[in-house]
Symmetry: D3
Subunit: 140 residues, 6 copies
């Protein structure tokens, strides 16, 4: 009756944050040349849209790969509470030494969620920094 084919579930959440892109080992001039207006020392910000994908087998008793309410709760506890209405450079420990590009934010989100999601599930992250700039972090 139940097909044991691997299936993906995706939960979409969002957070609003400020950030600045720069490399502290570089001169102001080089930071300006490479990061342009994203290097504004007073910060700018985004509405980030986050898609968290888990791939696994549906449970024959529930028909769920993963309870989406639980997935939403895990994302809220690990990511939204830590990132929403924050300055990523100043308020989030992971970006004290790491440039908060969309690529790196997606990687940090993956690392934080990987600890909470059972390893029977593949975990993949998609992050919209804007409607036109998107990153996919596929993890292992």
């Amino acid at each position: 009756m139940f097909d044991l084919m691997r299936t993906a579930v995706i939960r979409k959440e969002h957070f609003n944050a400020a950030h600045r892109l720069y490399n502290p080992d570089w001169s102001d001039k080089k930071n300006d040349r490479v990061f342009g207006k994203c290097n504004n020392p007073n910060f700018h910000g985004h509405n980030y849209e986050l898609l968290v994908k888990l791939i696994g087998h549906p449970d024959p008793e529930t028909g769920y790969v993963y309870d989406m309410k639980q997935l939403s709760d895990v994302i809220r506890e690990e990511i939204i509470t830590a990132f929403d209405h924050r300055n990523l450079n100043r308020d989030v420990p992971e970006f004290q030494q790491l440039n908060p590009t969309a690529e790196n934010i997606a990687m940090v989100i993956w690392q934080k969620l990987r600890k909470r999601i059972d390893l029977q599930y593949e975990l993949k992250i998609t992050l919209y920094e804007t409607e036109r700039n998107i990153v996919e972090y596929p993890g292992e």
Copy 2:
């Protein structure tokens, strides 16, 4: 002149349906604990957005992988006619014994379309239950 690279075409359709999530082998209490408000015995409902992806080689004479008008017709005949403005639990035979979670709905859609789509095409299903809850069923 024509590149024979495998290419995907995706057609988006939608249907509106009522459903209830529960496992008839469980107590009311356990159904409530696991399925929460989705277990309302009077049903609730969704606008489902369905993406059907076919992967194959473009026909050198048409430049089409698949005629999207034909694909839309097949989806309408197999899925929309059967699911749209229906109660999935009561009106759709496939869910008489199968919990109509998004995971299971996507699987049933895949099985119904697989019979109609030539096996030279890979078939993959994405189903949006809401804007924030999404399932991908990749088939074989």
Copy 3:
């Protein structure tokens, strides 16, 4: 410094519900002719998107017309709790005698919110039943 021009703030929320359209004073035949597949006695459902607009003067001390967090809370208490994951016909008292068309749902939402929103604010409701069927209830 502050302009006292009337300004609108709009909060978007959503709920998922089942419903059936019919007039109990009519024959089945007439209900079928008028309401078509929306008259399925087993119900169908939608993801409703709700926009609540308040028009008033910004407070010079806050720069807010209305605190959007408070507006979201009022909508949640009055509407989402009552309508989300419900069968509008069976579970919601206002639709025991009133056909739950999008027009009537918007009117009921307006009436429920009007009691909670100070009369210094104009109140207007927009309701998306689907992406393609939309209703605006302007109130008084």
Copy 4:
């Protein structure tokens, strides 16, 4: 041949900015109570979507109410250059003394554009701070 009915044209643009909401005349405690997480002293940010509406009569020779390329250029010169990738509180003179709520940002945008748009056109501003928080500033 041409109908001289008043018609609206709307141009959509966007900018990404950081901001903080607070009233410098208030205690930290009161700012926290009123503005909550929007009062983060390290700032947070948004992708703002801006709709600029001009209402006027189509020119019988062009069929245009207003050249949308020109409207886009005016918005870019007056708003995008000044606000995009900026910290509204620190980098934008208009918000040195004015709390950058969505209401006030919309009012400032209206005031800046009003100087550039001929008075034969009504001017109205809609600003999306997030997909769920929207402001309309109708001007005079």
Copy 5:
């Protein structure tokens, strides 16, 4: 029981068409200066999104302002059949002498629908030429 407040219903439809903007009374040079790349004599095209709004009183027996299925049928008969997959300049009689700007297309749509929609309803047209260029034609 039923509130007789005026309420709006909106139906969204779409069509895909080619067009070219120019004034036959002008030199090529002037057409190029005014209409730029929209003046390509080989045409370009758009996916137009059309919103048709009717304002009236809900019928106490149905709860409908207007049957959305009927409204969709009228739009299809009058507009979609005539405009979809057409070259507006060459295939649509109304644009033989009228420049197919979004403003003029919205006016023509209004005129064609006004003949089919009972005068007890106000009729208003919104037309998206692109996601960023929008026109509203309010009619009388």
Copy 6:
């Protein structure tokens, strides 16, 4: 500190174009039967949405897989300048002998961009012809 996991960046751009689908080796009758209203000899058109995905390793010094501003510039130079506000059949050399189906447009875009994007990056194209008709060209 930096994870060298392969990561994808996606840039979204758009262009508006006219086209006609037909095979010059076929009779009018056969073209009509196969391509239907897409075979209008006067052309029709679309707002194409283009997603360009590059897969590679983030640079440890910038945190970028690829500078999105540079990617946008490359897409503009190679694709937007050549396709936007054009008639694909008449104005674009690649479609003189090639039917401009979405499948073929995506392939041509891939070929044009492949020459400009360093081979260390995988390149994948997604093209929306309409909101409901989508093509993915995965390249090699």
